[in-house]
Amino acid sequence: MGLGKTDKQILAVILAAALALLAFQYFSGHRSQELVLEISRPGAERLRMPVSSLPQGEQGRWHVEGAAGGVYLSYWPDQGVHVDRATCPDQACVKMGFINKAGQSIVCVPNEIIIRLIALEDPAGQGEEELDGVLK
């Protein structure tokens, strides 16, 4: 292959970093805790809603305002949270598919929206305003 010793070391460091990060993500998944959907938007407070309280399926679809028009989200209990429609040209967030584990995220750069699943230690103790989403 024409790789020298140091080249192989560089390759090994990159692979090791990738695997270490993956392992960290895998083992830090707090499986027993409640999943919370967090939505960060430009110029607005971040929304946090327990996944169990989200409106479900086609009828439950809701809109999140963004810098380029916004996105439409839906929640399907057996699959996860999904972006159905977005106003951006590339539709990268739609292609992202479903997220259903803590740490996973959907990012819409043109809209400046970040949708993230997090595991909260104690969702009940977060205060009401924290878990309050405007659902349309």
């Binding site: 024409g2 140091t6 560089i10 990738a18 400046e112």
Partner: protein, 185 residues
């Protein structure tokens, strides 16, 4: 390599010869073409603006013939012109490409002087830095660190990309050296 004497001579010299300027502008043009090709490839992770870094082939080629200062010029001109040509000027995708381009340039500039590291090693480090730099810029633009979730996947993809750009650059440098482009400038 015949180019190393030339590189040393250039590093100490303030002004560039017409041939050097011509060669540098051809490198900028080639990297611009690669940026355009890359823009047509659908994103491999769902973060718009995050690219593979094919233009690194030209950055690596430039490192083979020019000192760091001139390579930096090639990188900056490519980033600026790619924004204008691709219509992403001053958009998030533009800044993301700056994050990737500059971080990978500095990492490659660190590794490129070392005898023990071949161009493929420089390319691997550059590819990982390119992906990391882009993600860093996304995180800065959105002021959210959640995007680092993709970092391990980007590092994994940096390995095939780095090998590809490294071996490509190696053959480009060999072909250019054999053709005598660097001979008696």
């Amino acid at each position: 390599m015949a180019s190393s004497n030339k590189k040393q001579a250039l590093a100490g010299k303030r002004s560039l010869s017409v041939r050097d300027i011509l060669f540098l502008s051809l490198l900028v043009a080639m990297s611009l073409a690669l940026s355009a090709v890359e823009a047509a490839i659908p994103p491999f992770i769902p973060l718009p603006g995050v690219k593979l870094g094919l233009a690194n082939i030209i950055t690596l080629t430039a490192f083979g013939f020019f000192p760091r200062r001139q390579v930096f010029l090639v990188v900056v001109l490519r980033l600026l012109l790619a924004g204008l040509v691709l219509g992403t000027f001053l958009t998030p995708a533009f800044w993301i490409s700056w994050g990737g381009g500059l971080v990978s340039f500095f990492i490659m500039a660190i590794f490129t002087g070392r005898k023990s590291v071949s161009i493929v090693g420089v390319s691997l480090a550059g590819a990982a830095a390119h992906h990391g730099g882009q993600l860093l810029m996304v995180a800065l633009l959105l002021s959210n660190t959640g995007v680092f979730y993709y970092l391990p996947w980007l590092f994994l993809s940096a390995v095939p990309v780095g090998l590809f750009t490294g071996f490509s650059a190696k053959s480009v440098i060999q072909a250019l050296s054999n053709s005598g482009i660097n001979g008696t400038i």
